[in-house]
């Protein structure tokens, strides 16, 4: 008989502040009452107030400047979706074979859609940027970390070139998982060389203006990783 989850004062503070902002129609740039005011108003200690404010700062709704006040920030889709922690928690994750497959399949779906959209309004700068990342990958075949970094830049560029503002956000959300996955993938024989080859094909196609072909090579790149994962998974 204790289904009631303990209510923390800091949560009440966070709710109160949200309600205060809504009721008083505060806009981004406005500031909320001082710590002491909130503390006396709600009749609780300043520690709890600070913790409640900290939660809202972590969520992106508030921002405080030392010596200044606590200001209301604009909440946009990116700040809503993006995890603020930046803690390296992905190292605690262990993906099953099935999860690895689902991840690469989902990645393929999203990324191919982005590439098709990007192909419709491709600029020379995007092509150049992609080629640059590709060159860097070729020069860093011996440094897996750097290789992955430029690989990530390559794929991020495609997501940005789609013109859809949500796709890069999803890519960033999943990118730590991609990195972890590719890191393990890179141990396989010739995995990096194969990846590099596909990237080069995409670049070459774009430079010839053959956008459809570029989409195909990207599809093959991700399908290739999927197939190799599936092969191991089946064994």
């Amino acid at each position: 008989m204790k289904a009631i989850s303990k209510i923390h004062l800091s949560d009440l503070v966070a709710d109160s502040i949200i309600n205060f902002i809504l009721e008083n129609n505060l806009k981004p740039g406005d500031c909320i009452p001082t710590e002491k005011e909130i503390s006396t108003l709600l009749g609780i200690g300043k520690t709890s107030v600070r913790e409640g404010i900290a939660a809202l700062k972590a969520a992106g709704l508030l921002e405080s400047r030392q010596g200044g006040r606590v200001y209301v920030m604009e909440i946009n889709i990116e700040s809503l979706l993006r995890p603020k922690s930046s803690l390296p928690l992905f190292q605690f994750i262990e993906m099953s074979g099935r999860e690895e497959l689902d991840l690469i399949v989902t990645r393929g779906t999203i990324e191919v859609a982005a590439m098709k959209e990007a192909a419709k309004h491709l600029t020379g700068e995007t092509t150049k940027s992609l080629r640059s990342s590709c060159t860097q990958m070729a020069q860093n075949l011996s440094d897996v970390n750097l290789f992955i970094q430029y690989d990530k830049a390559f794929h991020k560029e495609i997501m940005l070139a789609s013109g859809n503002f949500i796709l890069p956000i999803l890519f960033e959300l999943l990118s730590d998982l991609y990195t972890k996955q590719f890191w393990e993938f890179s141990r396989r024989s010739q995995a990096m060389n194969r990846a590099l080859d596909f990237h080069s094909k995409v670049c070459a196609a774009l430079e010839r203006g053959a956008t459809n072909e570029a989409v195909e090579w990207l599809e093959r790149h991700l399908a290739d990783m999927e197939a190799r994962l599936r092969g191991e998974h089946m064994q």
Copy 2:
């Protein structure tokens, strides 16, 4: 001349705890040292320790019980992607016409991919569950909140039926935005009736075993919303 970002003691605490867990190979369920032990061990005050722990609790790596200890929790992909605060922040969001379009386009990409996958291994239970949601929608045309709730259940069911464990997570991530968007969309003339019609068509097709047709109707449903948004956007 102050590019150096200030180092917070609480960040050091968080890093130290992460390292402690990795070095001592702590597993979910194990507990970390007490506040006092960490405090004396690192030679810093209790406040900083508590803040560092609070950050890791917010991220989902730790959990604490009053009177008990601070325990290590399991980090899986879902908790990594969705540590999010559970605060109702979406009510602060105002989407531009362009953002609404990008959102529905992205949703279409993901959801149609899920539907195609789901169609490959569809069960009678899924079909029944979808029909049930559809019936509930029809009975709640006058209650927008309930209508949206069952609409969400319908689409969630499709994501789950895909068998891909990542797609429902992405759907949940974006679902507050979908809800907000559909809420505004519901004001349009006949918007809810149109949506209901498409859902019925999907169900009917599935009940006839015509999975390809079901995929088509889902595509048309999302494309219809996109087209109507695009129409307003152009005006």
